[in-house]
Symmetry: C2
Subunit: 108 residues, 2 copies
Protein backbone atom coordinates (compact mmCIF):
# COMPACT_ATOMS: atom_id res chain seq x y z
CA UNK A 1 0.00 0.00 0.00
CA UNK A 2 1.13 3.57 -0.60
CA UNK A 3 1.98 5.76 2.38
CA UNK A 4 0.74 9.22 1.53
CA UNK A 5 -2.30 10.77 -0.06
CA UNK A 6 0.08 12.50 -2.49
CA UNK A 7 1.19 9.09 -3.80
CA UNK A 8 -2.41 8.16 -4.58
CA UNK A 9 -2.93 11.57 -6.18
CA UNK A 10 0.08 10.97 -8.46
CA UNK A 11 -1.02 7.44 -9.29
CA UNK A 12 -4.60 8.25 -10.34
CA UNK A 13 -3.53 11.50 -12.00
CA UNK A 14 -1.01 9.54 -14.11
CA UNK A 15 -3.81 7.23 -15.26
CA UNK A 16 -6.17 10.10 -16.13
CA UNK A 17 -4.49 10.82 -19.50
CA UNK A 18 -5.25 8.69 -22.59
CA UNK A 19 -1.67 8.84 -23.91
CA UNK A 20 -0.22 7.76 -20.59
CA UNK A 21 -2.74 4.90 -20.41
CA UNK A 22 -1.71 3.92 -23.97
CA UNK A 23 1.93 3.82 -22.81
CA UNK A 24 1.01 1.60 -19.85
CA UNK A 25 -0.98 -0.68 -22.18
CA UNK A 26 1.98 -0.90 -24.58
CA UNK A 27 4.35 -1.80 -21.73
CA UNK A 28 2.12 -4.66 -20.53
CA UNK A 29 3.32 -6.44 -23.70
CA UNK A 30 6.98 -6.04 -22.72
CA UNK A 31 9.74 -3.42 -22.39
CA UNK A 32 10.11 -0.70 -25.04
CA UNK A 33 12.54 2.07 -25.87
CA UNK A 34 11.35 5.67 -25.60
CA UNK A 35 11.22 5.98 -29.39
CA UNK A 36 9.18 2.76 -29.70
CA UNK A 37 6.74 4.16 -27.13
CA UNK A 38 6.58 7.47 -29.00
CA UNK A 39 5.96 5.95 -32.44
CA UNK A 40 2.14 5.54 -32.31
CA UNK A 41 1.59 8.74 -30.31
CA UNK A 42 0.67 12.06 -31.99
CA UNK A 43 3.22 14.16 -30.10
CA UNK A 44 6.85 15.19 -29.92
CA UNK A 45 9.50 13.03 -28.26
CA UNK A 46 9.84 15.74 -25.59
CA UNK A 47 6.14 15.41 -24.74
CA UNK A 48 6.50 11.62 -24.52
CA UNK A 49 9.41 12.04 -22.11
CA UNK A 50 7.28 14.34 -19.94
CA UNK A 51 4.46 11.77 -19.83
CA UNK A 52 7.03 9.09 -18.94
CA UNK A 53 8.25 11.22 -16.03
CA UNK A 54 4.67 11.42 -14.71
CA UNK A 55 4.33 7.62 -15.03
CA UNK A 56 7.67 7.04 -13.30
CA UNK A 57 6.84 9.44 -10.42
CA UNK A 58 3.55 7.53 -9.99
CA UNK A 59 5.34 4.16 -9.70
CA UNK A 60 3.80 2.81 -12.91
CA UNK A 61 6.90 2.69 -15.10
CA UNK A 62 10.64 2.16 -14.58
CA UNK A 63 13.36 3.05 -17.07
CA UNK A 64 17.04 2.34 -17.53
CA UNK A 65 19.56 3.84 -19.91
CA UNK A 66 22.03 1.46 -21.55
CA UNK A 67 24.39 3.24 -23.93
CA UNK A 68 22.24 5.72 -25.84
CA UNK A 69 18.96 3.84 -25.50
CA UNK A 70 16.56 4.33 -22.59
CA UNK A 71 14.40 1.25 -22.10
CA UNK A 72 11.09 1.47 -20.21
CA UNK A 73 9.23 -1.29 -18.48
CA UNK A 74 6.04 -1.59 -16.49
CA UNK A 75 6.40 -1.27 -12.72
CA UNK A 76 3.68 -3.60 -11.44
CA UNK A 77 3.59 -1.99 -7.97
CA UNK A 78 1.68 1.07 -9.14
CA UNK A 79 -0.96 -0.93 -11.01
CA UNK A 80 -1.40 -3.28 -8.09
CA UNK A 81 -1.66 -0.44 -5.54
CA UNK A 82 -4.40 1.29 -7.55
CA UNK A 83 -6.24 -2.00 -8.06
CA UNK A 84 -6.02 -2.79 -4.32
CA UNK A 85 -7.39 0.64 -3.34
CA UNK A 86 -10.39 0.20 -5.63
CA UNK A 87 -10.96 -3.38 -4.47
CA UNK A 88 -10.90 -2.22 -0.82
CA UNK A 89 -13.63 0.33 -1.51
CA UNK A 90 -15.72 -2.18 -3.43
CA UNK A 91 -15.50 -4.88 -0.76
CA UNK A 92 -16.35 -2.41 2.05
CA UNK A 93 -19.42 -1.37 0.03
CA UNK A 94 -20.42 -4.99 -0.67
CA UNK A 95 -20.08 -5.93 3.03
CA UNK A 96 -22.30 -2.96 3.88
CA UNK A 97 -24.92 -4.17 1.37
CA UNK A 98 -24.78 -7.70 2.84
CA UNK A 99 -25.33 -6.31 6.37
CA UNK A 100 -28.34 -4.34 5.12
CA UNK A 101 -29.69 -7.50 3.47
CA UNK A 102 -29.29 -9.42 6.75
CA UNK A 103 -31.09 -6.67 8.69
CA UNK A 104 -34.02 -6.68 6.23
CA UNK A 105 -34.23 -10.49 6.38
CA UNK A 106 -34.28 -10.39 10.21
CA UNK A 107 -37.11 -7.84 10.20
CA UNK A 108 -39.31 -10.01 7.99
CA UNK B 1 -16.42 -1.40 -19.73
CA UNK B 2 -16.52 2.29 -20.56
CA UNK B 3 -16.91 3.37 -24.17
CA UNK B 4 -14.68 6.37 -24.62
CA UNK B 5 -11.22 7.46 -23.56
CA UNK B 6 -12.88 10.57 -22.09
CA UNK B 7 -14.84 8.37 -19.66
CA UNK B 8 -11.61 6.82 -18.38
CA UNK B 9 -10.06 10.29 -18.16
CA UNK B 10 -12.97 11.45 -15.99
CA UNK B 11 -12.88 8.34 -13.84
CA UNK B 12 -9.17 8.42 -12.97
CA UNK B 13 -9.17 12.22 -12.70
CA UNK B 14 -12.03 12.00 -10.16
CA UNK B 15 -9.94 9.59 -8.07
CA UNK B 16 -6.81 11.77 -8.20
CA UNK B 17 -8.03 14.14 -5.46
CA UNK B 18 -7.73 13.19 -1.76
CA UNK B 19 -11.04 14.84 -0.79
CA UNK B 20 -12.94 13.05 -3.55
CA UNK B 21 -11.34 9.75 -2.49
CA UNK B 22 -12.40 10.51 1.10
CA UNK B 23 -15.99 11.03 -0.13
CA UNK B 24 -15.91 7.70 -1.99
CA UNK B 25 -14.53 5.98 1.11
CA UNK B 26 -17.28 7.53 3.27
CA UNK B 27 -19.97 6.35 0.82
CA UNK B 28 -18.72 2.75 0.90
CA UNK B 29 -20.20 2.69 4.44
CA UNK B 30 -23.64 3.74 3.16
CA UNK B 31 -25.55 6.71 1.73
CA UNK B 32 -24.98 10.20 3.15
CA UNK B 33 -26.46 13.66 2.75
CA UNK B 34 -24.29 16.38 1.22
CA UNK B 35 -23.87 18.04 4.63
CA UNK B 36 -22.82 14.73 6.23
CA UNK B 37 -20.24 14.31 3.46
CA UNK B 38 -19.02 17.87 3.97
CA UNK B 39 -18.69 17.65 7.77
CA UNK B 40 -15.14 16.13 8.00
CA UNK B 41 -13.82 18.06 4.99
CA UNK B 42 -11.87 21.35 5.35
CA UNK B 43 -13.82 23.24 2.68
CA UNK B 44 -17.03 25.12 1.92
CA UNK B 45 -20.28 23.35 1.05
CA UNK B 46 -19.99 24.85 -2.46
CA UNK B 47 -16.58 23.18 -2.91
CA UNK B 48 -18.02 19.86 -1.72
CA UNK B 49 -20.83 20.16 -4.27
CA UNK B 50 -18.24 20.78 -7.02
CA UNK B 51 -16.31 17.66 -6.00
CA UNK B 52 -19.56 15.70 -5.99
CA UNK B 53 -20.30 16.84 -9.53
CA UNK B 54 -16.89 15.50 -10.62
CA UNK B 55 -17.62 12.17 -8.89
CA UNK B 56 -21.08 11.97 -10.50
CA UNK B 57 -19.76 12.77 -13.98
CA UNK B 58 -17.20 9.98 -13.49
CA UNK B 59 -19.89 7.42 -12.60
CA UNK B 60 -18.63 6.98 -9.03
CA UNK B 61 -21.51 8.59 -7.14
CA UNK B 62 -25.27 8.98 -7.64
CA UNK B 63 -27.47 11.47 -5.80
CA UNK B 64 -31.16 12.06 -5.34
CA UNK B 65 -33.00 15.02 -3.83
CA UNK B 66 -35.95 14.23 -1.56
CA UNK B 67 -37.56 17.37 -0.13
CA UNK B 68 -34.68 19.65 0.84
CA UNK B 69 -32.11 16.92 1.39
CA UNK B 70 -29.84 15.58 -1.35
CA UNK B 71 -28.67 12.07 -0.54
CA UNK B 72 -25.58 10.60 -2.18
CA UNK B 73 -24.67 6.98 -2.64
CA UNK B 74 -21.82 5.07 -4.19
CA UNK B 75 -22.29 4.04 -7.82
CA UNK B 76 -20.42 0.73 -8.00
CA UNK B 77 -20.06 0.83 -11.81
CA UNK B 78 -17.30 3.42 -11.74
CA UNK B 79 -15.24 1.60 -9.12
CA UNK B 80 -15.65 -1.69 -10.93
CA UNK B 81 -14.74 -0.20 -14.34
CA UNK B 82 -11.52 1.30 -12.95
CA UNK B 83 -10.67 -1.95 -11.16
CA UNK B 84 -11.31 -3.97 -14.35
CA UNK B 85 -9.07 -1.70 -16.46
CA UNK B 86 -6.21 -2.09 -13.98
CA UNK B 87 -6.74 -5.84 -13.71
CA UNK B 88 -6.68 -6.18 -17.52
CA UNK B 89 -3.31 -4.43 -17.68
CA UNK B 90 -1.89 -6.53 -14.84
CA UNK B 91 -3.05 -9.86 -16.33
CA UNK B 92 -1.69 -8.97 -19.80
CA UNK B 93 1.66 -8.17 -18.15
CA UNK B 94 1.63 -11.39 -16.08
CA UNK B 95 0.82 -13.49 -19.18
CA UNK B 96 3.74 -11.84 -20.96
CA UNK B 97 6.04 -12.71 -18.04
CA UNK B 98 4.81 -16.33 -18.09
CA UNK B 99 5.53 -16.58 -21.83
CA UNK B 100 9.04 -15.24 -21.24
CA UNK B 101 9.52 -17.82 -18.47
CA UNK B 102 8.41 -20.61 -20.82
CA UNK B 103 10.81 -19.42 -23.53
CA UNK B 104 13.72 -19.36 -21.08
CA UNK B 105 12.82 -22.86 -19.80
CA UNK B 106 12.69 -24.21 -23.40
CA UNK B 107 16.13 -22.76 -24.16
CA UNK B 108 17.75 -24.51 -21.20
Amino acid sequence: MLDHQASWDRLFHALSDPHRRAMVQRLTHGPASVSELAKPLPMSLAAVVQHLQVLQAAGLVRSEKVGRVRTCQLDPHGLRAAEDWLKDQRTTWERQLDRLGDLLAEEQ
